[in-house]
């Protein structure tokens, strides 16, 4: 085990505290590879843009292989949290610690999937997936790997198309294949399904769940859709004004049946907290 610190500042002594429900180990449905996911911890992370603080000393510990959903109203700091996690921004103070056994390349530790697919319009679908495979030397191997990744997301037959002819859901699946290409330990998802229609969205959620179960990475899903959060995550974290306002376990077995009373109850708890504190 080695701890990688993504901050120049010395790490605070980890004061891990949890609001809401006590934290339990993530229920493992199946173990794909012993070190497929990475654990991480935000330790007193503060992020300010000029005088405006977005995160106020946030603490969050996520074990390897967990599926965590982060929800909150727009502007609550949830996207900032993801940018810090993926190294797009550095915290103003505090530290983010990673624990990934056997990780060779810190740059490939995390991958992010955005709300927009962000595919290169001038590259064929398969070449877009290869963007995530730059660590492979051999061109033939890149092509072979990209094709098998496309098969995983059900787009093997569209490899030679331009992205512009794909539907929104298909483009997002290509983006998923690209994000998974380098086998990241942590996959950060920034409302990746927000722009899709309701049915495509549910399909994509199922695809995401299946791939997560297969590969065992740590998934952090930022979303404003409470139903999506409880359907997918082991644990839902509610961020409010730069702090964690609620930290709730979703101890339901998978596959989860949409519209089941337990899901509805948990959704209700979260919505109440989300809307109740607004009044």
């Amino acid at each position: 085990m080695n701890i990688a610190l993504r901050d120049a500042q010395p790490a605070f002594s980890p004061q891990v505290r949890f609001e809401g429900a006590p934290f339990l180990a993530a229920p493992k449905v199946q173990a794909p590879a012993p070190d497929a996911g990475a654990a991480f911890a935000f330790q007193g992370v503060r992020k300010a843009f000029g005088p405006k603080a977005v995160l106020h000393g946030l603490d969050l510990t996520v074990p390897a292989g967990a599926f965590v959903a982060v929800i909150g109203k727009s502007g609550c700091g949830k996207s900032t949290l993801l940018r810090l996690l993926t190294g797009l921004d550095a915290p103003t103070s505090g530290a983010i610690a990673f624990e990934a056994s056997g990780a060779k390349d810190p740059a490939r530790l995390t991958r992010v999937m955005f709300q927009e697919p962000r595919l290169l319009p001038w590259a064929r679908v398969v070449a877009n997936v290869e963007v995530g495979l730059s660590h492979l030397r051999s061109k033939a191997e890149r092509r072979r790997t990209a094709l098998s990744l496309l098969a995983d997301v059900g787009l093997a037959d569209r490899a030679d198309e331009w992205p512009s002819v794909l539907s929104g859901g298909q483009r997002q699946r290509v983006a998923l294949a690209r994000a998974l290409a380098s086998r990241p330990r942590i996959l950060a998802l920034d409302e990746p399904l927000g722009a899709l229609d309701a049915l495509t969205r549910i399909e994509m959620q199922q695809l995401l769940e299946r791939i997560w179960l297969q590969q065992g990475f740590t998934a952090v899903l930022v979303t404003h859709d409470v139903a999506e959060a409880v359907a997918l995550a082991d644990r839902v974290v509610l961020v409010e004004e730069g702090r964690i306002a609620l930290d709730l376990e979703i101890p339901l077995p998978r596959p989860r049946r949409r519209g089941s009373p337990e899901l509805a109850r948990l959704e209700g708890v979260i919505l109440e907290k989300l809307l109740g504190s607004a009044a």
Binding site: W122, A123, V165
Partner: protein
């Protein structure tokens, strides 16, 4: 059937010019258009035949095309290089962009008297004017193309660990290409325009010179002929640019309609 339909669709654009040609010929033959105003198309054809047999016309076309393409290559490559530099580097842009934008507002043809004083009526004068004329459309559109590449794609490239070179080759340059092609086609128009003006004012060879000499001798059909050749060369350059667009922008939805 589809081949026939395509032929008809492409051919339909030529009906009007052909009709005009026929009307023009008939009107000229009937004496409706005086010979010293506009010669009949058949006279222009005869002039073309005579100049072709003597080989004179090919020499003029060759000289004019050489000037146009050389001037274009010089001005275009400087404009492209500066567009890249100023698009990629804020420091470079801060230093040179204001100056270039000021120079841009001088009509380059207004420099003709000065250029003649500098270079005489030699090749340099014409190359200089053509190069200056094509420089700005290429420069401005390259700069614009690079600065408007989707920042989300650039961020994506960085996240996926692309090196600066990979980022340029895979993201920035292809993203700027549609705009660069707009500049290219615009520059090709300016290229011929500048050359015509430069050659009619000061030259001892080339199509413009041929037209001016024909005017002296009242060979009006040669004047018309040289204008038609200019039009044809302009069209040829534009078609070449379109062909390049179709090859390089085939990913673009606008070029995927068959």
């Amino acid at each position: 059937m589809t081949a026939l339909a395509r032929f008809v669709r492409q051919g339909v654009g030529w009906i009007l010019p052909l009709l005009l040609l026929v009307v023009w010929e008939v009107a000229a033959r009937l004496g409706e258009i005086p010979k010293n105003i506009l010669p009949a198309p058949s006279d222009v054809g005869a002039a073309l035949w005579k100049l072709s047999v003597s080989g004179e016309i090919f020499r003029h076309i060759y000289v004019s095309s050489w000037r146009a393409l050389t001037g274009f290559a010089i001005g275009g490559s400087i404009g492209f290089a500066l567009g890249l530099a100023n698009g990629l580097s804020d420091a470079s842009r801060a230093v040179s962009d204001t100056t270039l934008q000021m120079v841009r507002n001088i009509p380059h043809l207004a420099l003709i008297p000065l250029v003649i004083l500098w270079f005489g009526i030699d090749e340099e004068a014409k190359l200089f004017l053509v190069a200056l004329g094509v420089f700005f459309p290429i420069y401005i559109n390259t700069l614009h193309g690079i600065r408007t590449v989707d920042p989300q794609l650039i961020e994506m490239g960085r996240i996926y660990g692309m090196s600066r070179i990979a980022l340029f080759v895979k993201v920035i340059l292809p993203g700027a290409l549609p705009s660069i092609f707009v500049g290219l086609r615009y520059a090709l128009g300016i290229m011929w325009l500048t050359l015509i003006v430069a050659e009619t004012i000061s030259a001892s060879s080339g199509l413009g010179y041929m037209a001016m000499q024909a005017r002296e001798f009242l060979l009006i059909e040669v004047v018309v002929l040289s204008i038609l050749i200019y039009a044809l060369l302009g069209k040829l350059a534009d078609s070449a640019a379109r062909l390049l667009e179709r090859v390089f922008l085939k990913w673009h939805p606008a070029f995927q309609l068959q």
